[in-house]
Amino acid sequence: MSNPEEKLGVDEFGRDPHVLLRVIAKFLIPLIALFAFYVQFHGDYGPGGGFQAGVILAASVILYALIFGLAEAKKAFPPRLIRYGMTLGVILYGGTGVVNLILGGEFLNYSNLASDSIAGQHYGILAVELGVLVTVTTVMIAIFYAFGSRQPETSDEDW
């Protein structure tokens, strides 16, 4: 953790001391991401929703960064995407409201998204929850990248 930019190295015999950790993580991280999407799309029926799913999805990237190093994580999820992702989420949410305005209803009145007001509500909730997911995921990853990339000034002996 002292130098997170550096890829976790191998020992002097060329072996990877963290092989077990990495194998398990490779297996686990897709499952965590999958669970995030379950939470996202099951939010209408059980506990969950965009915010919880976003945090879990971000946690999968953070776990990847902790195990494979921040540089690898930045290759997998480039920082450039983050700024666009943050914006995209807000636009998805606000844009849904603007579409409602254009269709003649109030801001965020989803009823006019479909001919049936209940179906319209369902579409609207789906769209805004997606916006929440995108923003929360990217912001959480952004914050982790920002803290992780900063060079620490205290040495490990201070512990």
Binding site: Y45, G46, P47, F51, D116, I118, V136, I143, A146, F147, R150, E153
Partner: protein
């Protein structure tokens, strides 16, 4: 005296809130202050959620009526159900004839929002702490104030 027992939750929550507030006010370390703020805010969440609790209630996730007209304990549910539009499910609602009770969903919604606001504040506070540590070499408020005091006397550099 027995009245107070029915409100024991509020008493505990107030103690917790004030403990959090005390950590913020009494400590002079920037990170500890933020931890205290977090405890304070989490305790306020507890206040809201305890307001919305209904005894004997269940989480506000509507139970679908499978069309048997009664739940597994044999209670008649007809009065309390709502039949929705064609193809839709019908839900068991509280009301006369129904013994289902849900807890109040509104405080839950408010607190979901507040949790997000709390983590946003925390992350900005931590980012500021990191920057302060870099430029002042300390995260103890007393030392920061001492350093600023010197500058205030000197005036700003030309």
């Amino acid at each position: 005296m027995s009245d107070l027992f029915l409100q024991y939750n509020y008493i505990i929550v107030i103690i917790l809130m004030m403990t959090g507030l005390y950590i913020v006010f009494a400590s002079r370390n920037l990170i500890k202050k933020l931890a205290g703020l977090s405890v304070f805010q989490t305790s306020v969440f507890l206040l809201y959620i305890t307001i919305g609790k209904v005894s004997g209630g269940q989480p506000p996730i509507l139970i679908e009526d499978k069309g048997y007209g009664a739940d597994k304990d044999g209670h008649a549910l007809l009065e309390g159900t709502i039949q929705t539009a064609a193809g839709g499910a019908s839900y068991i609602l509280p009301g006369p004839g129904s013994d289902v009770l849900y807890s109040n969903p509104l405080p839950h919604v408010l607190i979901l929002t507040a949790i997000v606001v709390g983590v946003a504040t925390l992350s900005i506070g931590l980012a500021l702490t990191v920057r302060i540590r870099e430029v002042y070499r300390t995260i103890e408020e007393d030392e920061i104030e001492a350093a600023d005091f010197v500058y205030n006397l000197e005036g700003t550099a030309d």
